[in-house]
Subunit: 306 residues, 4 copies
Amino acid sequence: MNIDYQEILDEIYQEIKPFKGEGEVADYISELANIDPDKYGISLHCFDDQEYALGDSREKFSIQSISKVLTLSLAVSQMGDRIWDRVDVEPSGDPFNSLVQLEYERGIPRNPLINAGAIVVADVLISILDNPKDDLLRFVRSICGNDGIDFNPKVADSEKATGYRNAALAHMLRSFDNIKNDVDTVLDFYFHQCSLEMTCQELSRTFLLFANHGASYESGEQLLSKRLTKRINAIMQTCGFYDEAGEFSFRVGLPGKSGVGGGIVAIYPQQYSVAVWSPRLNPKGNSVLGMKSLELLTTKTGLSIF
Amino acid sequence: MNIDYQEILDEIYQEIKPFKGEGEVADYISELANIDPDKYGISLHCFDDQEYALGDSREKFSIQSISKVLTLSLAVSQMGDRIWDRVDVEPSGDPFNSLVQLEYERGIPRNPLINAGAIVVADVLISILDNPKDDLLRFVRSICGNDGIDFNPKVADSEKATGYRNAALAHMLRSFDNIKNDVDTVLDFYFHQCSLEMTCQELSRTFLLFANHGASYESGEQLLSKRLTKRINAIMQTCGFYDEAGEFSFRVGLPGKSGVGGGIVAIYPQQYSVAVWSPRLNPKGNSVLGMKSLELLTTKTGLSIF
Amino acid sequence: MNIDYQEILDEIYQEIKPFKGEGEVADYISELANIDPDKYGISLHCFDDQEYALGDSREKFSIQSISKVLTLSLAVSQMGDRIWDRVDVEPSGDPFNSLVQLEYERGIPRNPLINAGAIVVADVLISILDNPKDDLLRFVRSICGNDGIDFNPKVADSEKATGYRNAALAHMLRSFDNIKNDVDTVLDFYFHQCSLEMTCQELSRTFLLFANHGASYESGEQLLSKRLTKRINAIMQTCGFYDEAGEFSFRVGLPGKSGVGGGIVAIYPQQYSVAVWSPRLNPKGNSVLGMKSLELLTTKTGLSIF
Amino acid sequence: MNIDYQEILDEIYQEIKPFKGEGEVADYISELANIDPDKYGISLHCFDDQEYALGDSREKFSIQSISKVLTLSLAVSQMGDRIWDRVDVEPSGDPFNSLVQLEYERGIPRNPLINAGAIVVADVLISILDNPKDDLLRFVRSICGNDGIDFNPKVADSEKATGYRNAALAHMLRSFDNIKNDVDTVLDFYFHQCSLEMTCQELSRTFLLFANHGASYESGEQLLSKRLTKRINAIMQTCGFYDEAGEFSFRVGLPGKSGVGGGIVAIYPQQYSVAVWSPRLNPKGNSVLGMKSLELLTTKTGLSIF
């Protein structure tokens, strides 16, 4: 294939302009409410060794739920398939923070990309890592090849201050014995992972791992087995977009993950990894311009899986 | 009416004997698991100024959920009907600790005698009292006319150590803004109220208040208005027995409240207040011998409301 | 006691006047929507052999869900306690037509006064009666001592035409094997029982049975055992008012049952049976003036059970 | 690509042998319970104009839920995107016949491949087609290029006789006004579509349509727009396997659909369509050997989308 990605990104940028004012910035985390709602950046790392980018692609933003893919990867790299005893791999079909399903399923979250599932993954990491927060940073930095990636403590504090739903989830998981460590320690880790800040460039570079069958794009080192990478990609495909997994699957057709900070990352195996950021969200919690950009990308490149 | 209550209690004691080994002591609170399962006491305070008693009626036990009637009374005595904005008065039709209904009803517990409702009442008391725990003790002691009533700190600690479900409820209520104070402070108060220890004698004496239209039986002082006493009695009638409200209403037919410590208290307005204690519980969490004793009592006295 | 009931009814009539325009007539059954919304009747049958009445107390209306107490009584008179294997006796805590709880409880309705429970009772009657509809009429006529009681076929047809929720309930009960007969036959019987028409006078006369421990007030014949009458009264007390059982228990404090036709009937054991009718309903489906009338009645007579 | 599909099918056949006795034939539809549980057939239609097949690939079986993709296609070909007003496109996260979600979502099924959704699609077809059952047959026959495809009336009757859950769903949808036609007519159509019988060869030939962007593989005629074909493929990808969508997405990674008759069909856009049949099902209702065969196929061909 011979695709001029830069030209395509330029076209996308023109075509999304009319939708710039649509949607609302997430305001339940006070630190996020202060972001300039009109930011927009996109970065695409291609297997031809090139990065194509545009807009605010070098600006840090809060990756929020996108971090769930990273903690899952770290957990899976350490304990393999045993993790599926504690969290399932099926789409949830419910708003992302519902407690109902968790009670119905006796404390086993539907998948690791809803909050309850990510909290279980956080608990797993606390059990197996010596310095969980540092070790997570080290893991993400090494995948990305960038030592500047860090938590934003203000955002972590801000999440804690309003994170009652997540605290309820964590205590409920504990009551079902699917949290093994101190609940506050687990939540502290979880709120920190959500506060991770990255640029579009860093994010798309990091997710090349999932487009490359689990091997580091730079060193070639196999950080995740091919099989478990496929598993994580399948989970992103079916569970990565809150209650819009089906819609995203149709419109974009790639495995990916969004966050309420306005970021979305997606991969096309053996072709590229792409990250886009725009803070205004649709009612289901996904970035309006991010969704549109990725839809245009797969339409223009013809690289949809369907 | 001319009823020989002592003779009736003696008869009851003979008739329940065959059922003595039935049921299991609650073991999820470790401090309660150590109780001698074969304890049995009953105390009936009559409006003829007599107490009739039998067995271990002078032994302290953990009143647990029975305390919910006392905290509700204290809250209602302070703020009247405004409390119904924060907690409803309808039976729940669900196991006592279910989170599902709470989510469905957007954070308004069905009634003040389920855990979620009692936690809201605890929050209310923390908001309006200077020294919530001390003030609760003072209130209960004054109704009972007995300064020896106290919390059992070991039991309170024991509840805290395993109270993840209640912590989940409290955080969820907080997320719906139906808890106004610090969640840990609310839970600490709640776990303390559950740890209140009383004897059957003290408990039946205390509940004379509800049989006496809200007036202190001794001083005649109106501690609760007649109207609000009727409200509390109606709530006990329809919501006092977890998922056996209908069964208790049929078998006993009196307003009452049970606790997992094995206590049950019930009242017949203008006639008597009765407390019974026996630690073995049926599968729905109510004392086996307690239920049987009260059923026999209303059958033998003919004082059923139906 | 020496109570002038007629005077009390007159007072009630004056005091409810200001609330006459409140509430809405049920309109989902087209035949009911045509009723004059300002009708009001009340009839009280006392154990001193008197009837006290007022307003439209001799006018027929659709008793609707009140019929559930009558079919339950007929079923219980035939098969006794075995019926509780097929329907529970606990309050439902949910809107009266919810399917959720039924699925959660694997096809056993919470109680016989919600639609699902009454449909199971209808199925039971079809299994044990030779001519179910005729036999039901004969049973009700004999209790009331009045051969003029009948179904309204237009209302029955009208219910059928919009009874999709009830049809869904019936098929679901069938899928759990808790309906044994042809679903359409069961629904036809159910829609007919709901269409029963009675006057306030007839209704209060009929319910004397429940105030009289199951014995016919006229002949003294024991139609229902004392024990099963107590059971039915307890069920009315805790489950008789859709999602206002707790509210009614507080405000009125008597066992009773309401219907969307605007009728309410209640009993005070060994004292009286009372029926009131006024078509305008509150948002929970109970007659506005009916609720107020009964509240005033127990307040004025002092005959509340609490 | 130069893949020897026949060799791969032979290998698959050898490798699945050890699992032949696993799973159980669906027995809730009596007609299906009589099938020889050890049947196994597979047929793969490739874009190189070849069919590769093995085992009982020419034997008719009941396609059951696979028919939902065909009725959806027919509906979408007639009314386009307007159908999404009546049925959503998101995974359900619940067992395929749950009524709970339907009530929670006010009568809008989560997607067209769960029973509730397919019943709505059936209702849509009844509204827009002159002879719904004949027109459906004509549509399927024309896609497949085979006039021998037909319903099995015995199976349709058998489904009707035990289809109480589906009848409950249909009546509930009607109560939410999301069924417009007579409920029995809708169910009759639905039970007939489920009774469609096809061979693996016919099924894989038919589904070439979805691998070919909606154009007939033979005539090139565009039967479905490219865009709506992508939509249907995305729905198969996220919703095609009851509560194993995530598992199938990982293990196979293709859009597809299974039925309780033991059939599974899947497509790889622009490469192939494959149908496999083996009646023994795993506990989630998907064919044991069918799942294993497709997993081996994508592993051996390297044609996984992840």
